[in-house]
Symmetry: C7
Subunit: 75 residues, 7 copies
């Protein structure tokens, strides 16, 4: 039996997730909220860089349309 695909997000509220955008950039942060369009709000978000330190963003709203995949960060 199939669970709903968004259950993975419901159970990740307050936890670290990784979000990959079209074009390949990746953001990581604590999932604060999401909606059915897969718009995502992250707290304490940071953008991962190929080389060097991640760039800190704080609070961030990502348009679902820009997202390729989302993955909970295992602790």
């Amino acid at each position: 039996m199939s669970e709903t695909t968004l259950a993975i997000l419901a159970s990740s509220i307050g936890s670290q997730i990784l979000v990959r955008l079209k074009g390949g950039r990746e953001l990581r942060g604590k999932l604060k909220s999401y909606d059915q369009h897969l718009n995502i709000v992250l707290e304490d978000a940071e953008e991962l860089k190929q080389n060097g330190e991640p760039k800190k963003h704080g609070l961030i709203l990502i348009r679902g349309d820009s997202i390729v995949l989302i993955s909970p960060v295992s602790k």
Copy 2:
């Protein structure tokens, strides 16, 4: 429990936000209004440049479809 994703915008009206467009350009300005398509109106907007001074736009309407992410600018 999940808040609505647009709450981050509701609470940023009148404050500085950063908007990143598809292709990588970034604009910064005071959030004047938004709608459910994520169309955004900024006041005193400026476009950030890789090198040199930001370009001033004043009032600006950005199509939601062009937006990758939005972040309140921390003071």
Copy 3:
């Protein structure tokens, strides 16, 4: 409280606006009309060129889907 995002267009009818298209081209002209898809009609429109004189178009209908941002031209 949030105004509607299209109010910026309603108050620009008859005034000069700048329209940036996907890909980076920019057009400038007097806003004659618009609709909820952000289709835009400009009068006395001209297309700005990196080098040299703008290209004159006269009346022009721009598909909303091609538009990245719109800004009233300050006088």
Copy 4:
């Protein structure tokens, strides 16, 4: 007060218009019909070339989704 954006097409039926496509190609012809998706039918259409003679197409149906802008050709 705002006219409808498609009025520019209604008043161009039977007249020469210029249509610019995504990617930059341009077609010119006599506007025969259009619909609310901005699908356009041109008669005696020709495709403008950077160098040399335009390519003649005769009757042509252009998908609205491929169109960036439309401009009546001034006489």
Copy 5:
């Protein structure tokens, strides 16, 4: 007065048409059917090549979403 844009297709059933795809490829064949999404079925279709012989496809269904323009082939 504006005819419907699809009338050009209705009157081309059984006749040769040219279909240009996004990216620039062109197909030619006898129009067998179409629908309101501009999905197109061609018989005896062939794909035109920059150099050399066209590639024969026989029957072919083209997704409307991939189509830029359609033109009846004049005899």
Copy 6:
């Protein structure tokens, strides 16, 4: 009179078809099912390569949105 465009698929169930994807890749296989979004399921599918042997996939579900054209493989 126009047939429906999907009739070409209905009559190809159980037969070999060729599917061309956006970007130019081509897959070939036995059509098992399709839907109104032009999502396609192929059995004994293989991906055609410019050079060398086709890559075997077995059963495969192709998103309609990725498809440019579909053609029955003539025997």
Copy 7:
């Protein structure tokens, strides 16, 4: 007679599938859930690399809009 296209997913719940994304990247994992937008949740997912070891993701939600094709991995 045509089965529904999503039946291939229904019968793959709990089994290994391969997912190819726009741009060509491929992920492999155990199908946990899917929905009618073709959003896909994989468990024990890994991203296949041209050279070297696959990158492990664990649980992953892939937006249907980013997917080109899905194929059950034959055992």
